[in-house]
């Protein structure tokens, strides 16, 4: 999926592909490239077409993974993009990635005059918000086992592509606990 197909599927089924209200650029990132670092001001909204990215924060020198992103999602240091303030989170490529990027200024301009741009922004934001709410609810109501099963079912490729400590960090558990859970799943 790319931005055009996202729009057709989730925003406006009548969207004609040559009428994007903002320019987009395509970028590639290599594994472990930092896309937006702590303290930087976010410059783009990204749409992931290939690969896996993460958003994380740092507490007492330890990385805490907040979320993974898979192809078909918008991602960025969104608070930083919206407020144009220093980012509290870090955005990093976990594998080689391909993205479509919208410059923040182009997006802001499009919001001034394009109904479609506002709709894309609203729907992408609503979706992102709901992801977060779902994640919070899962953290409060599901065991680490269950949450592991959920993400493994949806994205089995993470096991091959991401180190165990990262998945453990995302689940909020120790890597040893995750190894235990994985042994159970395999057997």
């Amino acid at each position: 999926m790319n931005i055009k197909t996202f729009i057709t599927r989730y925003v406006d089924p009548d969207f004609k592909g040559d009428e994007l209200p903002f320019p987009i650029q395509t970028f590639e990132f290599a594994k472990e490239d930092i896309i937006t670092d702590f303290g930087e001001v976010e410059t783009h909204a990204y749409f992931l077409t290939e690969g896996i990215t993460q958003i994380s924060l740092e507490k007492n020198g330890t990385e805490r993974v907040l979320d993974f992103f898979f192809p078909g999602s918008f991602f960025s240091s969104y608070t930083s993009l919206l407020k144009q303030e220093a980012s509290d989170v870090q955005v990093m490529a976990l594998t080689n990635c391909k993205v479509e990027a919208i410059k923040g200024v182009d997006l802001a301009n499009a919001y001034q005059h394009s109904l479609l741009a506002n709709k894309v922004g609203r729907i992408a934001t609503e979706y992102n918000y709901m992801r977060r709410v779902g994640r919070e609810k899962d953290l409060l109501s599901k065991t680490a086992d269950e949450r592991y099963q959920d993400i493994f079912k949806k994205h089995p490729e993470i096991i091959n592509q991401l180190p165990v400590y990262k998945i453990a960090s995302y689940l909020g558990i120790h890597p040893e606990s995750l190894s235990r859970i994985r042994k159970k799943v395999i057997s």
């Binding site: 969104y78 109904l115 918000y129 977060r132």
Partner: protein, 196 residues
């Protein structure tokens, strides 16, 4: 409805035609203390502007334990946002903690205006953004701050809250027990922190 108009205009300019349409969708309402605005497991249908009063959004886990996720005061919008967007059963009830005055509208009717009025679509976007910003802000605070720090932030943001609702609601929001909250308050007064 002046307070609602000002609240929305502060987010993004709304033309008079758009406002006239929007205004027509809202009706005056009341919530009695303890009354739910959004119930558990129902598909949410309404949003409301909180003219006065306090509402909490809370989550109940399988064991029946309640977690207060958020407080709403005036001016502010209440409504089970996720349920409104997805039309799936609401997982996060919203309840009045004191008597409230509200302006209620059917959410679908409001959303249907977006395609006809670009400034209302923009308002919808800006509101979605502010929901996201609040959510991320809270996540960062929960990950990076301790209960005392979060308590001080809560008091800063909602200075009148503690005068009007029981301490156990505050404790629930901070994910601590009332005993722990008392200890925090005692420590803050011993350190002669302002306001204690």
């Amino acid at each position: 409805m002046q307070k609602l108009k000002e609240f929305l205009q502060a987010k993004t300019p709304i033309g008079e035609d758009s406002w006239a349409e929007l205004e027509g969708l809202f009706q005056r309402g009341k919530l009695r203390k303890g009354e739910h605005f959004a119930s558990y497991q129902e598909a949410a249908r309404r949003i409301a502007f909180l003219e006065s009063g306090i509402v909490r959004a809370y989550f109940v886990n399988k064991e029946g334990k309640e977690y207060n996720k958020q407080f709403f005061t005036s001016p502010g919008i209440i409504g089970a946002y996720t349920s409104l967007l997805t039309q799936r059963p609401n997982q996060i009830p919203q309840q009045a903690l004191v008597d409230c005055e509200i302006w209620v509208a059917n959410y679908k009717s409001v959303a249907q205006l977006y395609d006809r009025f670009q400034d209302l679509e923009r308002l919808g976007r800006v509101i979605a953004e502010s929901y996201f910003l609040e959510k991320e802000q809270k996540e960062l605070e929960m990950a990076l701050l301790n209960a005392t720090e979060r308590y001080l932030l809560l008091r800063k943001r909602y200075p009148e809250l503690e005068n009007q609702i029981p301490q156990y609601h505050i404790a629930s929001y901070l994910s601590i027990s009332t005993t722990q909250l008392s200890r925090i308050r005692r420590r803050l007064s011993e350190e002669k922190i302002e306001g204690f």
